[in-house]
């Protein structure tokens, strides 16, 4: 068995046995290929359900707050950054959570893989950097690196930034020449081209709010789209309302998004929801030198004022 999974189970069993934590939150193997499911394990026997692989694409920080008692949580780089964000935003106390860090080699893009097959995928296995994927018609051997999610390809924080213990060896972080090629591509379009791009992006949206609900920083008790008095956004499929939802949600993520990709992972319609937040991440980095979720002692840029803040947009 994968040594990382072995280690996770050992650590979880030990924590539960010693009573250090009440629950361990991690991933369980799903019932279908390329699926995993967040799980809360409260007994030593239950730890055998814990797994970690390239399909653990959701962000567990989302499940960390609002739990009773002390919990342990399996955290890859992005999960740990969102735990940091939760601590900075007072959603979680540092001593409420025991972080089992898992250095991460990226999660696979299920849509990219599905697109290779004419029929549905019936089997998925991975061994190091090699994926074996099959459908009833064919079996393919793939290089994992070529089928990573877009955000994983651009990830510079594969290792957890905050942890109590590690369940694997730290991995080498990549240094990118350009961290935002996707944003550049959109920026290169003219104004109507950009508008059309975003119009197409959201045309399949069914407003199930999986993106919002999978997002670890979308924890508002009442989201602006759900508010009834006053009602800010219409609830139907009118395109303006759909776009207003995506656009305003993105704003609420400014300087907070860690580009964990959970929104994209959760979207049943295959919408690259990140296209909205990526621009904000780029601005946060360029204007404020800020990447979210790296340090529990720093306030996010939109939460703090500094005389050095850029102000050339004010005339």
């Amino acid at each position: 068995m994968d040594t990382c999974i072995q280690k996770i189970r050992e650590l979880a069993a030990d924590l539960l046995e010693r009573g250090e934590v009440e629950k361990v939150i991690g991933f369980a193997q799903g019932t279908i290929p390329m699926a995993t499911s967040p799980i809360s394990v409260g007994t030593k026997q239950g730890v055998d359900n814990l797994v970690f692989n390239s399909t653990c694409g959701l962000n567990l920080a989302n499940f960390a707050s609002r739990q009773k008692g002390k919990i342990a949580i399996i955290a890859k780089g992005c999960d740990s950054r969102n735990i940091v964000t939760h601590i900075v935003e007072n959603q979680l106390q540092r001593d409420q959570v025991y972080i089992i860090g898992v250095p991460c080699n990226g999660m696979v893009d299920k849509f990219k893989i599905a697109a290779l097959f004419e029929d549905e995928i019936t089997g998925f296995a991975e061994d190091g950097g090699t994926l074996t994927v099959s459908s009833s018609l064919q079996t393919k051997t793939l290089k994992k690196q070529e089928y990573l999610r877009e955000n994983c390809l651009l990830c510079t924080h594969k290792n957890p930034v905050l942890y109590d213990v590690l369940a694997g060896e730290l991995v080498e972080e990549q240094v990118l020449e350009n961290a935002f090629p996707d944003v550049d591509k959109i920026e290169a379009m003219d104004v109507d081209g950009r508008w059309q791009y975003f119009q197409r992006l959201t045309q399949n949206c069914i407003r199930c709010y999986a993106c919002r609900n999978a997002c670890p920083i979308c924890y508002c008790p009442t989201c602006f789209v759900d508010e009834a008095g006053p009602q800010w956004v219409g609830k139907g499929q009118n395109k303006t309302d759909v776009d207003t939802f995506h656009f305003l949600r993105a704003f609420h993520c400014a300087g907070r998004c860690t580009d964990c990709g959970a929104c994209v992972e959760a979207c049943p319609m295959g919408i690259n929801v990140r296209d909205f937040t990526r621009k904000l991440n780029k601005d946060a980095l360029e204007l404020f030198g800020w990447e979210a979720g790296l340090d529990i002692s720093k306030r996010p840029p939109l939460d703090a004022y500094s005389p050095q803040d850029p102000d050339d947009f004010i005339k």
Binding site: A228, G229, P230, Q231
Partner: protein, 281 residues
Amino acid sequence: MENPYMPYPVRIDDIEIATEDRSLKTFKFVFLNQGDEEKFAYHAGQFAELSIPGVGEIPIGIASSPVEKGFVKFTVFRTGVVTSHLHNMKVGDIMGLRGPLGNWYPWDKLENKNVVIIGGGFAFTTLRSSIVYMLDPANRSKFKNIDVVYGARSPGMLLYREELFEWEKRDDINMHITVDGTDDPSWKYHKGFVPQVVEQNAPQADADTYAIICGPPIMIKFTQPSLTKLGYKSHQIIMSLENRMKCGIGMCGRCNIGKELVCKDGPVFTLDEINLTPKEY
């Protein structure tokens, strides 16, 4: 009803402030089109959707009584978007009325029975409808003793005060009006919460006595034990529930308690029936 989503057009004929804090108003509607009033034939205990175009709809118990002709009345608490809008409307404004919806108190079953009516706060509306119905000269003889326990926070929060005090004077109905508390030295009725007043004043149950309860969930919850103490069996306790509703015709799926839909199979259930369903109200 051809299109059950289509409201009858109505005109606001009168608006009365119902409580001293002005949070409740009673709206009197008349139908714009001839014949709609007949189509809107209702029983005491039913509700309707008050429908304001461009704003929304709200399910409200019908406060007028089937024996009152020429208009329908609703008493509305100001709380959400639609009710706030309604509170700002004027006499003469046109809106919609969709119904009647839901079931009603089981008037056939209640014939030749003693009836105890228990209400709290602003849920007294369909109970007012029921009392007016039972006291109607054509109907009074169908029922044996009628007892009413009605409580509100303070004297000024009692709905239909004038009618209450008139009923108080009659000898064919026993009124037990109560308020949670009052500084008014001239207050000559009960003080205390509804469950207590029920326990002390409602008649002991026999096979011929039924209780109808309508009130906030918390009052319903605490009144049940009082009735049980007085010997009421669960089939003798009739309750009117409320849940969030939209369609009012059993289709939109939100108001269910188990497999029962409060809007269509209810809102009136016996405690017997409710005991078979999850308590999701």
